[in-house]
Symmetry: C2
Subunit: 478 residues, 2 copies
């Protein structure tokens, strides 16, 4: 009874995907709404996901000599306006502080929507010689972008992210950094989130305000829409010229630095929900999961059951497995549902009879497969299962991308497919903005990226008939 | 020559302590000023100190079942005004967002100066039963308080901190939390920062806006001024009543929760600088230090020297010792000065002759003691030395507190001492605000706290002659 009631409370994924998504966010206790429109509360379980992403990525960045810094929350308006394209891109969505300490400020302060100008201003001061390069700085913080329509984790007036900002002696190094980080993001998807990304370059229309080139990782959600999940930008010397960031090189010449920036955000949590979740709630990939094994004692009032549960927990924790016990006064059925809603990769059931037989039952969240396991073998079997689950979840997601990636050389077919089926459509493109605009106007699909692995499926742009230059992944997107 | 020039660049500590402090902040590359007045840039070396404090404390908090969350950056003005005393305390120093997305906002948004009201508003929604208690939430973030005069790490318009906010079923548990966290802060001082704190209760006049009781840890700086380094607050049911946070208890009755809040900030970095630093710069306690051992190759152009340095680094890192090599083209003397400026606990010198003798020279930063060490014993000796250094630095700081803590039962003597000598003065107090005010007016000294270990040195308040109630630590303070 209880279980049914609990499960019924969430909308079916295929019936109303948007509502299913919000239900999962709330019911799995990932977030809550605040009184400030568009600003959300990251609840402990949701924040723990972000902490695990941070921990993984921060470690990777430190291994590659990146250093963390913290820049101010606010940007004086005059500084913000120093790079023309950049300010044009961000000005309309800024929040502005006009009062401080009960007085109207002489200069308005922009709450950072991104911190390029702060890093540039600092780099101008601290870089003067080739000895000062490269600067490989990163910052973990929140940024504010005023959004009219917001959705938890996907689009909010405030979100958490990391923003890397680097300065290099030449174009080659800066371009390498741009691609290395894109690759690191892709690896994060593969090894932590169990999400296969498509990596590619953004078109001129879709690139970052102020960038020479923008690259992105794109993920395909269960509903067939794409989600831009992270970007890296090569800036050339544009910001360096606007901010006068130059250095004396080994050859004695004074040169401008070449810069990059790159970021991933709490949007990745949205990707995890929409790639892996199902009608019972969240399904978490094991290495991301704050709790990997949820022990649910059966007939916990019987002497010895709870003791055994705690004993197992302590033993597993020695092997760095993240374990919880649900010893609340709810029924086991209710606990099972909650464990599924929270997407905990493995449920461990143990009752008096299991103890007698020195065994327990393990249930995988993603496919509900049950295994009876000898207690003496738990510490060996669980790491293996977690690894298998991760791989299986990745494979399913990859299968979904493959099954929902189509290609065409006919624009009529493109329009037909995009309305019938969701997913990526690969189509050649001439490189003109007009054709990209036309696709968006006709179909609401946007160019997601031009994949890194060069591929050609035709010679002409099906939209205008001109010579094709690039293959583009199109999709409807979040 | 170079060395002299480098060292000369910082002011002597005893000549001008304030300038010495700023010099160290800049020269050790801990921070830089930004274009927004009162907002500083945490440079990599300074931010790494904060990361180590975070890592230590976050681990302690998680061990005691605290959970991290993230609340919005902004508070709608109406919400901010819900608890009267609290708003009165913070309103004058707030920064206010009045424009968002190019439009004037209907309701102004306060940038959080602290997040009590956000947590209360959330707790009201998620707490309804004794089963939901306790809630032990913590948040790592930055807050904004508009300050007229600012100093790096000590007082800024923006600072980084953690703020804990907890809700409990009864007073006893909430009071225990308040004291447990105070104790955790004290332990952080002892075990990580090598700073002996005085723990005590704040007087009515000095307590937090909205608190029933406030406790603090106070540290004594080299110049004899005190620095409040962290606080914990017991709120009783004041906020709970203002925000209607109640729950059904086991006995069926509906009750208000009892709350606490507590925080330490980047101010702790200021404390470390001013407790341990000297005329050559920063002196870092070993467990806090981002780099514990700085290898400086001597005659590094000689074949084999740099290889050996890297070999030693790799070996030490296996034992989780944090090591750097300075293989830049600066002279060894210059490198020594930089290593001292950055306060790195151990300098390791190695040159061709050392390699022949299978040895190196270790120099302790805090007292410049040199030891010649056999290379085969390095991995054993260094952890021991780091431990010894930590203890010695703590002992020196404690000695300084003892030597600069005086007591008196005469207000005339109090006034004389406070002008002649810096440090704490212990004096009895009747409990009346007027006497506290008078002390401040006459001497600029403020009551720091009433120490936890009850102590009495007299029966009357030397200021007014009335019956004494408490012993108070007075000092001039930052």
């Amino acid at each position: 009874m209880e279980k049914k009631k609990f499960v019924e409370a969430i909308t079916s994924r295929d019936e109303d995907f948007a509502r299913w998504y919000t239900d999962v966010c709330i019911k799995a206790e990932l977030m809550d709404y605040s009184d400030a429109k568009g600003f959300i509360i990251y609840r402990p379980y949701g924040y723990a996901l972000w902490e695990n992403i941070q921990k993984y990525l921060d470690n990777e960045l430190k291994k590659t000599n990146h250093q963390n810094v913290y820049m101010p929350l606010v940007i004086p308006e005059s500084l913000f306006k120093k790079e023309a394209e950049h300010v044009e891109g961000f000005a309309p969505e800024t929040a502005i502080v006009t009062i401080g300490g009960s007085e109207v400020l002489q200069e308005r302060l922009i709450i950072r929507p991104t911190s390029e100008v702060l890093f540039c201003n600092h780099y101008q001061k601290i870089i003067s010689s080739y000895r000062d390069l490269p600067k490989l700085y990163n910052q973990w913080c929140s940024v504010v972008r005023w959004e009219k329509t917001t959705r938890p984790f996907l689009r909010g007036s405030e979100f958490l992210w990391q923003e890397g900002h680097t300065a290099h002696a030449n174009e080659k190094e800066a371009r390498k950094e741009t691609m290395d980080i894109l690759d690191a993001y892709n690896t994060l998807g593969r090894d932590l989130l169990a999400i296969p990304f498509v990596m590619g370059q953004k078109t001129e229309k879709e690139k970052f305000a102020g960038a020479v080139d923008t690259y992105s990782i794109e993920a395909l959600m269960h509903d067939g829409k794409a989600l831009q999940s992270g970007t890296t930008h090569y800036f050339g010397t544009g910001f360096a010229k606007a901010f006068n960031i130059n250095f004396q090189d080994k050859d004695g010449e004074v040169k401008y630095v070449h810069q990059t920036s790159w970021g991933v955000s709490t949007r990745l949590i949205g990707a995890v929900i929409m790639v892996h979740g199902d009608d019972s709630g969240l399904v978490l990939p094991p290495y991301l999961a704050p709790i990997q094994v949820n022990i649910i004692p059966v007939m916990q009032h019987v002497a010895g059951v709870l003791d055994k549960a705690h004993e197992i927990k302590a033993e597993l924790e020695k092997y760095n497995i993240r374990v919880a016990i649900d010893d609340s006064d709810k029924t086991p059925g209710w606990k099972f549902s909650e464990s599924e809603m929270k997407g905990i990769p493995l449920r461990l059931e143990i009752g008096p009879r299991d103890i007698t037989n020195n065994q327990c039952v393990l249930v995988k969240r993603y496919n509900r497969e049950k295994t009876v396991v000898n207690l003496d073998e738990l510490v060996k079997i669980i790491p293996t299962l977690l690894k298998e689950i991760h791989q299986a979840m990745y494979d399913i997601a990859l299968e979904n991308v493959k099954a929902n990636t189509r290609e065409t050389n006919s624009y009529d077919e493109f329009k037909r497919i995009i309305n019938e089926k969701q997913g990526y459509i690969k189509m050649m493109w001439c490189g003109k903005k007009e054709c990209e605009d036309k696709v968006k106007e006709d179909t609401q699909a946007t160019s997601r990226c031009m994949p890194l692995e060069k591929e050609s499926i035709g010679d002409v742009c099906p939209v205008c008939g001109d010579k094709a230059k690039h293959l583009v992944y199109y999709a409807k997107a979040y």
